[in-house]
């Protein structure tokens, strides 16, 4: 069993080497390699989760066997292993769901490069989840950014490149702030490994020296990560990027990329700075405020959109707001809610992007919401999947979105002075969510049958085109959503135990 402790490191390396090998093979082979790699990571992460559950404590894996103040470490507990498993599932389903479109969207002969980017993305996400070293975290943040930028611009039209450059500029501002933040942290603590850095920070707080630098560090790191994950005032690139990328890329960008940064931020809060110190610095209040504004403004913008994918993209802005609001509550319950919502959003957004594509296929490629009239009858699987995703985002019972809203509401009750705002924001945001998601769901199931932009033959061809794997991915994501909604107790327990091990 002790062999299993090597698996997280092996997962990261496997993903990276698959990327290198994929750059030299054909598109089809690269796709198969990627799918095999993600499946392998999935299995290995499941084994890691079993190992972490049995160990009942965080395991530190020394790379190169240099003990603590030196060397580089990987550390994993229940939550890390679970997140790796979960991300691998989402990644697998996103690739399965969108590969037939990737073939069309990507210039011939360059398809393998797309899978290189997915491999790099997977390795950087895993590294951000597992790493116990600040600078390694920074390096993988940059790898993640570059891979994401490549995924946006792989669709070779004007949109892709403009969206990519806007994404890059905002992202680099965020990583610049993050870099100067960890440099300052290294300066005041003298450590890059998270655990020794934590004892140094505790010493600083106890002595009362470096109070202002510590505050600046917390602000820089939080703002940097908030910009990178697209919190409200820094959200301008989100609709452009998610709305125009190829479906797999949209699903991965919205459900995984921004989450990786949030997890790294939570990890730094817990493991390096200490959550109590973060709370007493009041930075969380700012995150809370922006989170609440994002919840409302994101939904308002989403209502104003006519294009279905831009609408889903703006809804992401609101959902990121939910997550930051949960973090901003500054309690453990709030953090559990935030992590749970992170899982919910990952499952639901990839489901929405994948199933929305299934609906365009049967609507002459029209993407505005009226153009999708009646599409739910023409492609039943995609229609069902889209409805489940939309209802989950609105917070329909049995689905995951309901549980996360419930968790946010109960977490808010512990914080009397934030309770009213949180509850009000939840209610307003739910109503707004309902307006634009239900409008879309009603549209895809309304209109006379046969009153379609397409001819019957076209529809049959389109449904035949919507491949088996796309339908499989949609249904698997629906089931994942139901799992999170119906067996939430298991997941919440796991998150709660995992967060205890996080510190």
């Amino acid at each position: 069993m002790d062999f299993l402790r090597n698996l997280p490191f092996f997962c990261i390396m496997l993903a990276m080497f698959t990327g290198i090998v994929s750059s030299a093979v054909s598109g089809r082979a690269a796709r198969r390699l990627t799918l095999a790699m993600v499946t392998a990571v999935l299995v290995m992460s499941a084994l890691t989760l079993v190992y972490a559950e049995q160990a009942g404590e965080s395991t530190t894996y020394l790379m190169g066997h240099f003990p603590a103040p030196w060397g580089n470490e990987i550390r994993f507990g229940t939550l890390e292993a679970f997140l790796a498993l979960y991300f691998a599932i989402i990644m697998l389903l996103s690739v399965l769901g969108g590969w037939s479109h990737a073939v069309i969207d990507i210039e011939a002969g360059k398809e393998n490069l797309f899978y290189v980017l997915i491999d790099l993305m997977m390795s950087s996400l895993l590294a951000m989840i597992y790493t116990n070293d600040l600078f390694t975290g920074y390096v993988f943040v940059e790898i993640n950014t570059i891979a994401a930028c490549g995924m946006i611009m792989i669709r070779q039209n004007g949109h892709g490149i403009v969206a990519a450059i806007r994404y890059m500029v905002m992202s680099l501002i965020g990583s610049g702030l993050f870099l100067i933040g960890i440099s300052l942290l290294y300066d005041v603590t003298g450590h890059l490994l998270m655990v020794p850095a934590h004892s140094a920070v505790e010493q600083i707080v106890a002595d009362g020296t470096y109070i202002v630098p510590l505050l600046v560090i917390i602000v820089l790191i939080s703002v940097g990560m908030a910009i990178k994950s697209g919190l409200y005032p820094f959200h301008s690139w989100i609709p452009e990027t998610y709305g125009y990328a190829t479906p797999t890329a949209s699903a991965i960008l919205s459900s995984l990329v921004s989450k990786g940064y949030i997890i790294l931020l939570i990890k730094i809060f817990y493991r390096v700075i200490g959550f109590d110190t973060v709370i007493s610095s009041h930075v969380l209040n700012a995150l809370f405020a922006f989170g609440v504004i994002a919840m409302i403004m994101g939904s308002v913008h989403a209502i104003l959109q006519t294009d279905c994918r831009r609408m889903i993209a703006y809804s992401s802005v609101a959902q990121i707001g939910y997550i930051y609001m949960g973090i901003g509550l500054g309690t453990k319950a709030g953090m559990v809610a935030a992590v749970f919502h992170l899982l919910t959003h990952a499952a639901t957004k990839s489901l929405l992007f994948i199933s929305a594509v299934g609906l365009y296929e049967v609507s002459d490629g029209r993407t505005d919401y009226l153009g999708l009239r009646n599409a739910g009858f023409r492609n039943r699987v995609a229609g069902l999947a889209f409805s489940v995703g939309a209802l989950s985002m609105v917070g329909f019972p049995m689905l995951s979105g309901f549980i996360s809203k419930y968790l946010f509401a109960t977490a808010a009750l512990e914080k009397p002075h934030k309770m009213l705002i949180t509850l009000a924001a939840l209610i307003i945001s739910t109503v707004l969510n309902a307006i634009y998601f239900l409008r879309q769901v009603v549209t895809i199931y309304s209109g006379r049958p046969g009153e379609a932009v397409s001819t019957g033959r076209f529809i049959k061809e389109a449904i035949a085109e919507s491949t088996f794997s796309e339908r499989f991915a949609s249904i698997a994501l629906v089931l994942l959503n139901l799992f999170l909604g119906l067996f939430s107790e298991v997941v919440i327990n796991l998150i709660s135990r995992g967060l205890d091990l996080f510190a």
Binding site: F135, Y138, V139, E142, T145, I146, C149, M153, G158, H159, I161, V162, A164, I165, R166, M168, V169, L172, I173, G176, L177, L179, I180, S183, Y186, D187, L192
Partner: protein, 127 residues
Amino acid sequence: MSISVLFASHLEETVAMILFGIGFSLLLLNRNLIKKIMGLNIMDTAVYLFLTAKGYIYGRMVPILTDGITDPNAYTNPIPDGLVLTGIVVSVSVSALLLSLTIRLYDRYHTLDLDKIIMEWRKEEDA
């Protein structure tokens, strides 16, 4: 503490922070893509200046064993320098990526002004 004292006691750190601010505002506010990339490089270089300045201890040598001196107090810590090298690699690759994107955009829109590019793009969008 007045500015002159700050300059006298922490010259490199102060300069690094000023440079960081300059680079940051260039990257955020300038409309010209090439200047944005220059801003990015100034910003990153400021961080490297900060790290090297903090990592150097006056009177010590680089950590390469010379003349048989094995006392660790004679040498500086190599980690900050290592971080700078890693950071340089990262910023070089990011700059290269941005420059290649800029070339693509210039070929398509014949301008380097990001606002104009976005306006053109919106027009194409509506058309």
